[in-house]
Structure formats: C-alpha cells, structure tokens
Symmetry: C2
Amino acid sequence: MELVVQKYGGSSVKDAERVMNVANRIVEEYRKGNNVVVAVSAQGDTTDDLIEKANEINPKASKREMDMLLSTGEQISIALLAMAIEKLGCPVVSLTGWQAGIRTKATYGNARIDKIDTERLHAELDKRNIVIVAGFQGINKYDDITTLGRGGSDTTAVALAAALNADVCEIYTDVDGVYTTDPRIVKNAKKLDDISYDEMLELASLGANVLHNRSVEMAKKYNVKLCVRSSLSKAEGTFVKEVEEVEKMLVRGVTRDNDVARIALCGLDDTPGKAFQIFSLLAKNNINVDIILQSIGNESSKDISFTVTKGNLEQALKLLKENNAVIGAKEVKSKSDVSKVSIVGAGMVNNPGVAALMFEALYDAHVNIHMIATSEIKVSVLIDEKDAERAVVAIHDKFKLGE
Amino acid sequence: MELVVQKYGGSSVKDAERVMNVANRIVEEYRKGNNVVVAVSAQGDTTDDLIEKANEINPKASKREMDMLLSTGEQISIALLAMAIEKLGCPVVSLTGWQAGIRTKATYGNARIDKIDTERLHAELDKRNIVIVAGFQGINKYDDITTLGRGGSDTTAVALAAALNADVCEIYTDVDGVYTTDPRIVKNAKKLDDISYDEMLELASLGANVLHNRSVEMAKKYNVKLCVRSSLSKAEGTFVKEVEEVEKMLVRGVTRDNDVARIALCGLDDTPGKAFQIFSLLAKNNINVDIILQSIGNESSKDISFTVTKGNLEQALKLLKENNAVIGAKEVKSKSDVSKVSIVGAGMVNNPGVAALMFEALYDAHVNIHMIATSEIKVSVLIDEKDAERAVVAIHDKFKLGE
C-alpha cells in the first residue's frame, strides 16, 4: 500500500462536473489499495469574489480578517469534494487546515508552515478514509486562521507529503507537465519526463507558473517526489526529484517573464553603503528585487540598476525619490516595457559555452540585451518586451530543445 | 460597564450596506463604554446557495460534510462584519464557533450546545475588543464542525449571554418586537413592552416566528434577559424576562399557524397501548405531533386524532396505513386545509373564563371549531384555514388587545 498525496487547483474543481471528475480520479487511486490524502484549492473565482465582497466594505481590512474570509473558499471545496466521493461510495472525511494540524507562523496573509500535527491525519488514514484537506490555510499560535499566500495549496500538499512520508505528491493542474518552454509560443516545445528540484526552482521563479517556488523548496528540503500532471487527461506528467546525470542535458528549458520593470540609479557617489541604503529601503516596504547590477563607473561615481515587478514599479520610484536626499542619485531612470528571458539547466555550471550560445541566438534574432544575470544553473537577459517571444523561439531552436 | 450580547440575522447583513448599518449599531453600543459580543448569521441567501451547490453534487451528502459546508456562511459574515467595524476605527476580532469555544453534542445538522469555553472570549473582551462570533455553529468532541439547526444563531447568542453573564441579549430581526398578533392581519395589533419566557415559548411554538424556541428555553433556564428589536429602526423592542404581576394581563397575544394538518384514526379497539403504537411509530420516523385528542367512544372503540405539519402529512398517513394491521383503525381520515389559532397568556391559568371568551369570539364570527387543546398558558383551536384570519381579528378584538 502506497500513500499518495494529490493536489487539485481551483480550475480543477470549478464546478460540479469538475468536482465529480476529480472525485473519480481520487477514488481510482484509492481503489488500487492506496491511501490518498488530497489538498484542494478554492473553486474557480471564489477567492476573487470574496476579495470583492471585502473591498466593497473595507478595502483596508486587516489581514487577519481577510484570512478568516478567504479560508472559507477552500472549506467549501473540501466539503463538496468529500460529498462527491461519498456519492461514489468511498469512506471520506474533509479537514480544514486546523483540523489537519497545519500549524503556521503568526503572520497573516502569507504565513509559513511551521509543522503538521499528524495525529488526526493518521487516525483518519488508519480508518482507511480518503482525507480531503483544505489547501492554502493553517492555524497560528493564537488559534487564528492564517493563509499561506500565493501557491499556498501546492505548499500544503508538499508539507502533507513530507509530514506523512508519502510515496509521491501529485500536483494536478491545467497543463500536463513541465515543458522546455511555453508551448503557446514555441510549437515544438517538449514535455520533460523529469527535472531536478533546482531546475524547477529556477523555472518557477522565472515565470513558468506551474509550481510555486515555496512548494519546490520544501519538496527539495524533505526530498518529496513531486509529479506535475493534468487533471483533465491521463497523460504521464513531469517528475520533479533529485535527477542524476545532470550533465547529459545542458539546458532544460527557456522561460519568459513579462512582469518585470527596470530601475536605474545613475551617478551615485562611489562610497560604501549605497546598495544597503537602496535595498533595505525597498525591503522594508516589501518590494522584492530580482536582478541587481552595479556598473563600474568613473573614479567617483557608479550606477546601480535592478528589476522589480511591474506592479511595484511606481511605489519603488516614489520611495527612491523621497529618499534621494540620502541616496544621492543624479538621475533615476525606469523602463517597464521589458521582459526577462532565461535558460535553465543544472548542467550549465560546468559548460561555459552555454551562455555564449544563448547570446548568439539573440544576436541572430537581432534582439538587444539590456541586462544579463547568471547563476549556477541559469542565465537571464532583460530585453524589450516586444522581442521576448522571438527570443524564446530563437533560443529554444538554438539549444535544439524541441528535438 | 455593561456586557451586551447582540444577534443579527441573515437579512440584517445581506449586503455591504446592511453590514455597515449593523457595524454602526455595534460601534454605537461599544462607544457608550460597554463590552459587546455579537452573534451573526450567514448573509441573506448564502445558506440556500450552499445547499444548492451540495445538491448539484450529492443530494444525499452526509450531515458532517453539510455542516462543514454550511458553516462557511457564518464565517464569511463574521469576517465582513469585523472589516466593517475596523473601518469605523474600533478594535474588533471575529471568531468562528470553535474559536469562541462553543462545544456541542456530537450530532451533525442539529447539534445542541454543551458548554462554552469562555477563555478566549474573556481574553478578547479584556483587550476591549468587540467580539464577533459565528452563529449557528460549534465543534463537537471529535473536533468536527457542527451546526445547530433552525434558529441556531439565536441559540448561539443566548448561550454566549448565559456563559458570559451578560446584562442583556438583544435579538435584532426585521420586526421591531413581539406583537399581540400578526400586524399584517390585524391593523391595531400592539407591540408588547415585555413578555414572560413561558408566554414567549408558547408564542414561538405557535408560529410567531420571532425567536426560536430553543433560544427562549435556554434564556429561561439561565435567566438571560432577552430583547427583540429591529435592526432597521431605533424603536424600543420587546423584553423577554421573568414578568411579575402576570395576573394583570390575561391574554398577551393571538397567533395563527397554517402549517398544520389533522389526522384522525377512527374505530380503534379500546385496548391499552394504542396511543403508544401510533405515536412511537411516528416518533421513530421523526414526525412531530402537536395537538392530540382522544375521544370517549362507545363501549368497545375509540377515536384518536392529532395534528402534524403539512409537510409530514403524507408520510404519516403512509406509515399509519402500512402499520394498520397492528393499529387496527377502521378508518384513517385527514384534513390539511386547517389552521391553528391560539391565545397565550400566563394569567389565564387562574381565570377560567378566558377560554369561554375565546369561544364566544369564534361563535360570533361564525367560525367552526374542529379541535381544542389547552395548557396552563394557552388555548388553541383547530379551524378551517379559510376562517383563520377572521378568527384572529375576532379574538384580538374580543380581548381588547389593540387598546
């Protein structure tokens, strides 16, 4: 008997028909003789509808009350999914985050899971119940309901798989796996059979939108074998796990992220502490910075440029201008019609030619590069948004990823 | 400083405007310097919408999962109401049933409150927080969510008032108090300033639809002073409490209940155990019986007639016919176009002329009486449904209740 953890997103349970479809999949797994624990998100637009209800009353509502409100979305899903499974004649029990023992940090709106008290979960599994757990939510030390922020249900599933020592954690979504690049852009994009945690982390953070980073990080930490697959087809998905022989494949995928904007602070004094002043200011205001570059300027001045999400651009510029008396930039420039295109592959660290091949592809395609950033397993370039699709196709071809 | 418990029903919080209106009322009470605990129901049609969602998937869903589903309705309400109060600048915290320590029996769908662990409630009140509690729900010994059945939010409010030893428990509804009879039928119906628990109990069970019986019973048991008033006006409501000098007022109100049907079993053997056979059969099938009359028949046979709700009539007849081999009625008759009209008043027990006055009123109005039942503080008659309104007006006039 295996223990399988499954996660279904909001679109997989958006209406009665989809709920029955998911129930059938779960029951199929259960009838193989396996134990099944399921994490499920709120139905379709439920969360958006609840946010709208809140905004009508108080757009500045506290995060605690928002969590109280939003957590009802998943509670509705688990009850409905359990009812669907009851209809199919299998023993089932739904559990909210707190009933499933999911303890989080005190932070509302974006809480981290601390630990899972598995007593109730084990008791239900011992009774051979299918266990349906509300994703995206937990309970903090004050016994208040918390939500886990974006991608929270993925994190719930991985945390359950880790705590219960599950054999596999299947993440059901509306795509049937992880691709070498976005299949909507590149016709011959290829589905990967497996991918390493680190590669998946880079892909996720670069906009592949399949799995949330926090869940992949947690899967890596606890060595949870993930499988990304479609809730609408029977196709084999992509496994995310420790992949050996990484050198066989240099580059695994090409990603594009349009939600990026560049800010450049020019003519800064070349004195210690400038970077600290700038980035601690942004961090204090919860603005995440992605690529950071510092130019080697002339003797007495330097330029620092970096990227933020498009949504944070305006606030970041406002903060920088308000504090420019301290920072002392001669000029603050920004550009928002940009995209980040990246290649990811655990093998590239030992192959210095990889970045050069990417730049060659961009040169061939007449794409101008604004910024470059590299890590051990990725190379990212910032380019004009209008060039992004062309760049993805050119790079995908250059590395022969469709073959 | 007083401790005031308030309860708002679903229509009082049905949309953003109503929620803000309720928030204003609560804040007004709080700013007098009082502590305020509020029990609130699900918004408007939320519960019906959730039931529909469940029926689409599985009309025979378990009660446990129905409770899991339905309890989200009140959780949405408490979060929204707390947000509205935050907007008005007052410290507030919303609590689900389990967070508020409301422990119930294990039964799903219609659980009774066992006790309230008031630790968290007291902690929040000590911080001078307004406390918003989800009505209609609690938690059982398995840590599962339960709901309290019809009128559950009233019961939540009274239980909170009892457990916290509140000075008053205000039940806000869409009428501004308890009337001598239905103001839609009798123009000069009069609002009562106060009424005793027992009178209120009879009125509630006789179809006055203002307060649920369970909540009044609990209020009586724990001596909680209730006040029924409108959430839409500033009018003083009706107090429900131990009323002294009950003899001053013989009859407090006239009620009508159309949801009633009569069944008559004629020609039963006059042997012991007939009533037991009939009513245990009905009880086992969860059919509540109201008025019961047994005629004095001839030497060897008797008739038993009783009333059930119209919705139970068909099932009751089916059961009685199926079991008539044992029961042995010569004839089973039924009549569903009937109404029950009653007068209620704690003073009537010492005044034998009261029932006679009621019958006189009915005679004057040419209303034929099918059944009569009396208790210490009420007299009920079963009459044709078409005569009911005329009967209510005639009785109300006869007892000069409008004066």
